[in-house]
Symmetry: C2
Subunit: 624 residues, 2 copies
Amino acid sequence: MAPPVEGGDAALLPEFPRGPLDAYRARASFSWKELALFTEGEDMLRFKKTIFSALENDPLFARSAGADLSLEKYRELNFLRCKRIFEYDFLSIEDMFKSPLKVPALIQCLGMYDSSLAVKYLLHSLVFGSAVYSSGSERHLTYIQKIFSMEIFGCFALTELSHGSNTKAIRTTAHYDPATKEFIIHSPDFEAAKFWVGNMGKTATHAVVFAKLHVPGDQCHGLHSFIVQIRDPKTLLPMPGVMVGDMGKKLGQNGLDNGFAMFHKVRVPRQSLLNRMGDVTPEGTYVSPFKDVRQRFGVSLGGLSSGRVSILSLAVVNLKLALAIALRFSATRRQFGPTEEEEIAVLEYPMQQCRLLPYLAAAYALDYFSKSLFLDLVEFQRGLASGDRSARQAELGREIHALASASKPLASWTAQQGIQECREACGGHGYLAMNRLGVLRDDNDPNCTYEGDNNVLLQQTSNYLLGLLAHRVQDGACFRSPLKSVDFLDAYPSILDQKFEVSSVADCLDSAVALAAYKWLVCYLLRETYQKLNQEKRSGSSDFEARNNCQVSHGRPLALAFLELTVVQRFHEHVHQPCVPPSLRAVLGRLSALYALWSLSRHAALLYRAERRRSCPGRRDRSS
Amino acid sequence: MAPPVEGGDAALLPEFPRGPLDAYRARASFSWKELALFTEGEDMLRFKKTIFSALENDPLFARSAGADLSLEKYRELNFLRCKRIFEYDFLSIEDMFKSPLKVPALIQCLGMYDSSLAVKYLLHSLVFGSAVYSSGSERHLTYIQKIFSMEIFGCFALTELSHGSNTKAIRTTAHYDPATKEFIIHSPDFEAAKFWVGNMGKTATHAVVFAKLHVPGDQCHGLHSFIVQIRDPKTLLPMPGVMVGDMGKKLGQNGLDNGFAMFHKVRVPRQSLLNRMGDVTPEGTYVSPFKDVRQRFGVSLGGLSSGRVSILSLAVVNLKLALAIALRFSATRRQFGPTEEEEIAVLEYPMQQCRLLPYLAAAYALDYFSKSLFLDLVEFQRGLASGDRSARQAELGREIHALASASKPLASWTAQQGIQECREACGGHGYLAMNRLGVLRDDNDPNCTYEGDNNVLLQQTSNYLLGLLAHRVQDGACFRSPLKSVDFLDAYPSILDQKFEVSSVADCLDSAVALAAYKWLVCYLLRETYQKLNQEKRSGSSDFEARNNCQVSHGRPLALAFLELTVVQRFHEHVHQPCVPPSLRAVLGRLSALYALWSLSRHAALLYRAERRRSCPGRRDRSS
């Protein structure tokens, strides 16, 4: 295990080396060390420092300047680095349980070094590991030890060539054979090949494979997951019946070996079924501990969220890295000025500030949100592990699913757009590969796609909100959720009667103002989407058509605005806690207001249109 | 010279191979061949086909599947391909004069093959070549022949390490020495090194170098350009006093060798000065044919436009390529559907249509605009070549400068965002390198930066419009420009009194409707920006501060809206000409309306706010 960093604040937060940034740093209205301590806490700073020090001092992590690694070499190196991370044992399983936030912190530190490494580590330990842990039972615990010692190396095989988003259409099958007490895993044709699976290309020995479970009598019980050995751990040669390979070069994350696999009647023991949601008896009878289908669905949805929450935190890392590069460049690059002799730093231009500073605020707000959502997920997973089958646990699963499904899009897009803005804000220098902005953009890009296409995922969130409103309208149910993210909606009729009565720009610099406007906006969008959906259905559209026709102009902005509100709400509360050091209150308050107002301003057309409709209720807007 | 393609329409526009796209193609409401003939014309189709056939049949242009070319190898190959393009002699100098549109057509064809090749060719033949041709005089014509035979290979060295956008701060010097009748080209320090110069890294033998011209008595006459030999054409070794090298890996366009150079008191003959704008007599006296500084400035601005207009057309190519990939994928990829059994093509989803089809319309509108602006530029350059020193010629230079300065940002951003949307719209498959969307994005990216950062350039356009309004307000001058792009502004008081009175969505499907709204919007933004600028100045801001404070929320949207209006106007007129085949009128009209409405909709918040201010004139919006 890597030795923890010793010493006081000076060792933990040493002064920056002197240089051209000194002038700006001297002008700060707050102490950056105090901000770092407040944002991270000393224990976490020490943990991150331990990781960074280990990587800095290990030649395996040295970057060879200017080297253009071949695909093969980069993938090999990334695997060796991943293995080394396990050897460092930065985080024991016990520590994970004690300080769960160290899990995303470790992933973020690896992501700061290289996305490919972070994702490789994440896929093995958290996605593969979590799937075994959360979907399996006692009999699968033996795998957990092997995962952490890297005796086996894992991947998560859900997506197929022809079906990614539509998991119900997954076509790999698992037929149970009572004679041998085995499942037969089979890919009916190449379109059903597992595809895009991270770690599968070169290095995985085991896969959690999703397949349709059939028991004798040809009854299908839907998608279940199985642990399948795909390679010999000693030779890395494919197991009999498994055709597995690498997908080749991607736009980014080329250290990660994405792969494909086809299974030709591969037999695995009955115990390979990850059986928390349902099991097959030795004789071939399907049994499930969940009586209520809705409950079972809620629990399984929560399980899908962990990947999305991890992506959220990886996107935040990419945004942070790009901003540090672009802001430092902008503070030192001088161009034009009030006179021909005197040039000013480009950061002094209102244009440059408007391009970059909102993303800085977004990085803070989303960073805090990613941690808070991770803790919510931990609560859910603890319930899952302890066998909690309460209605609250299922509701929590649904709420986290709704939040995670919109937060991955919001964070990955914010990062993607922010990195592009940083790239352009650095001019030509931003286009030089060594300045890393291209790698960050390319490595962040798949965050928009994997674990669910952003636009498809947003529909999950809008459907969640629409379902709650339908429940309220039809059954008089209250808006109530375990994390209280929807509770304010209960007052939607009175919120919609509120008016924006702030009289000066100065007053808007409290994020409470934007927050109130956001609540109004979400209530408005929810009601409009609900009405539009019902109108579509009344005019003869099927449910499928009605939802598709509502999504672009209603469901999508609803889901995004709801999630932005949640992010703003949590960050607002965080920076207004009594424990915030007095010297940080002003700057944190400004960050919170900037993020809130900037996000809200992107809905300005909607707000104006809504106001217009209210002031002229008889005159519907023509665009409706 | 490559043999032209013979034969009739069938050879020119052969049927597509049969495949999964047939069903959609069969549903088209128009003949794609007719559309191709209308858009390009038979002569141009034949010209493009000649180029594509030559490249297809030449092994030098074969792509080795899956090969990861090293930087060195790729740059070498790109140079050989560039040389081969000259050998094919697709376009003689005479042809260029006869059919000027073949120039951008050739660049576009090369861009379809590889941006690095198009830019390398463009930089040598058009940027370097044009600079010599337009800024030089009789005595420089000898270079032109050598450029086309590739006896010399050129680059355009304006940008320095510390100064790109701010050309006035360029610090390379050229001191005239009457004793030897030479200029001494010198880089005072490394911050004044020429930087980012395309072709300079490995291959250029000559550079057009911008330097501050000094004559004896230490009088500085500002920036002038010189032809300087930087390498021996036989050995490619640097000339004495020249330190030149390659800048290394970039985010994209890695076939292009961008370089740097420092000059240590390099002596070049007096005749190296490109002397159209000003010359130095053998004795060392500075002379200029232009009496009026404003006129001289107008002429030199027009010269800057050719690079921007070429970038506009390269951006359009990138957008076209990405759209073809994404739309074809969307038409064949099936995911989800009205029932679990029946999946539909993702192109059927309103979401996918809203993501992709506006960019398709943008590609058509911008493609047409790029050709029309190129022809305007040709008119300007002919004036330049014939020594036209009329006020009209100078006005034309200014107008083209204003249009080109905003069209490069609009096209490069539209392409960048469109390619990203295409990438995401193809899901995971869009992230596979072989599907090319990454290369297109990376190769398009520098279009946002080179020849002027997009945001900086937009200020040129808003300044142009503000200058015209000031002229009108202060001197009663009319809004009149040679290309008539600003003439409508003359009626701005009455345009601002107009109201949007269209009563149905169907009526909006004529781009004339969006066009009228755009005119109103540009008048509104121009007046608001002018007022804001004067208000800033009255409250004590310097001109520099006032412009910076106005740019984000006023000048920038003004410049973009003005250019969008110009694009919409030209495309609207183009598709409503009497010569449009009747069978194409509907589809072209829809494309025109879609582009216009989509672009306009991005200003929706502004339109609502403006309406609100008009209906409540006493109650100013709080955000102002």
